[in-house]
Symmetry: C2
Subunit: 289 residues, 2 copies
Amino acid sequence: MIAFSQSSLKATTAVAARDENGVSCEVMIAGEHPLCIYFDKREMVTLMTLGRAPELLCLGWLLNQRVIDQAADIASIHVDWDTGAAAVTSQHRALSGQSWWDDPSRLDRFEQRMDRKTVTTGCGQGTMYSDLMATVREERNARHALPQASITKSQLQRVIGQARHHQAVYQEAGGVHACALADNRPGADGSFLYFIEDVGRHNAVDAITGWMQLEKQSAHDKVFYTTGRLTSEMVIKCAQMGIFILISRSGITAMGFELAQELGICLIGRCQGKHFLVYTHPERVDFAG
Amino acid sequence: MIAFSQSSLKATTAVAARDENGVSCEVMIAGEHPLCIYFDKREMVTLMTLGRAPELLCLGWLLNQRVIDQAADIASIHVDWDTGAAAVTSQHRALSGQSWWDDPSRLDRFEQRMDRKTVTTGCGQGTMYSDLMATVREERNARHALPQASITKSQLQRVIGQARHHQAVYQEAGGVHACALADNRPGADGSFLYFIEDVGRHNAVDAITGWMQLEKQSAHDKVFYTTGRLTSEMVIKCAQMGIFILISRSGITAMGFELAQELGICLIGRCQGKHFLVYTHPERVDFAG
């Protein structure tokens, strides 16, 4: 069990603006706050975030960057907005008093990865592309025996319908992206198990990774929904989570397409009302169901 | 004069997809390509890009990251998509044969900046926030004597109207953001002097920086338009360029708001049809004009 601070921020602020006629009005805008992650006192990264689920964001970032392998590696996450700092303490340190970084191979691996500054589409996190892809391929091969994920058309339309009811910050202030994890078990109503908005799509998907690991959720019976585009980074992160069906209100990019083809991931985009486009692996969609 | 390769890529690719009835159709998707920038043979960063103006992207990235101070520091930019590499050669090296990096203080400054991994909203580029802010403040003070930029309501609506005619990739494939620089001289018709689409908003604004410097364009009589949100990073980059009026189809974030307040920048968002919202410095908008 990880000890979490409860440091969720209010997502929106009211500010005075003028409309096109010069008339004063009060409008809501989305928050944006720097959060610097310290892991066993080592500074890792500063993320710009809405701050809705900062502890899950930290956990998911550490998982997606492969700094840690599992949620159980973490003892506590304490977020302090006055200093914009998230203090993450490893289980190792909590139990033995020694830092996670006392093992020099861990530091080497992290420094090596961070040294390659790949600025990914939409939100770079210094991820080393080729390295991550190799890991993702290995993991896919290991998962080969898992049940094949698929979705029916009516379930897909229920998931898309859900999204409309959830985008609180977006509807109030704009300027944010939403990601959600929806239930895709047989007979499920497509309801969102976890929903998160953030100023960066990347942060939102990191928080979802954090939530899944914390709640020990299986991936094969879930689908991932986002308001943002399905780019290479989104496909890689979902592949890391083990999710095979990705749904977006927006479009996809060529690299997202190629990766999804290779990794067996079904990309569904341009979801509007009852319409959608299946870009890859249409065998995962039951159009008659 | 910089020697440029002419390596612009086709922005979209046709792929086979299925619609919601399972019917096959051909749809266009946006490209996304890794481009690794080498500056005097030193690896700097890998950007994920649509590849419309890769040379201007490299130039603008080097300028916005403060690796170089002016376009004249560069002798040539050669982009090779087969290897995904952009070879940038400094004027220093072209003339003397010595590397830009022979001066250890340059390397120190760059390494120091890159060492702080701030993942900015939407697209992190390892920018050191506090450092950049200090530079931006200094420059603003230096610009104090410059003419005060302002815009009339009718000119603003002409700029917004222009945007509709330009978004070729977006209309064809989605999945991209556009940025443009519009003419705001007295009597100008708001036409776009430079327009660029990319998978990351950040890349688009970097290409605009590159274009402005290359063409020796003044900033005070231009306005910046984007389809993306006005976050802290966008405000900082425009402040670095010296542009005081930023217009977006989307919303703004709280940190974008605060920075713009401080830096004297007018943020106009939520532009739809004839409607818009002026969030900061409304004295720069002539609502009757």
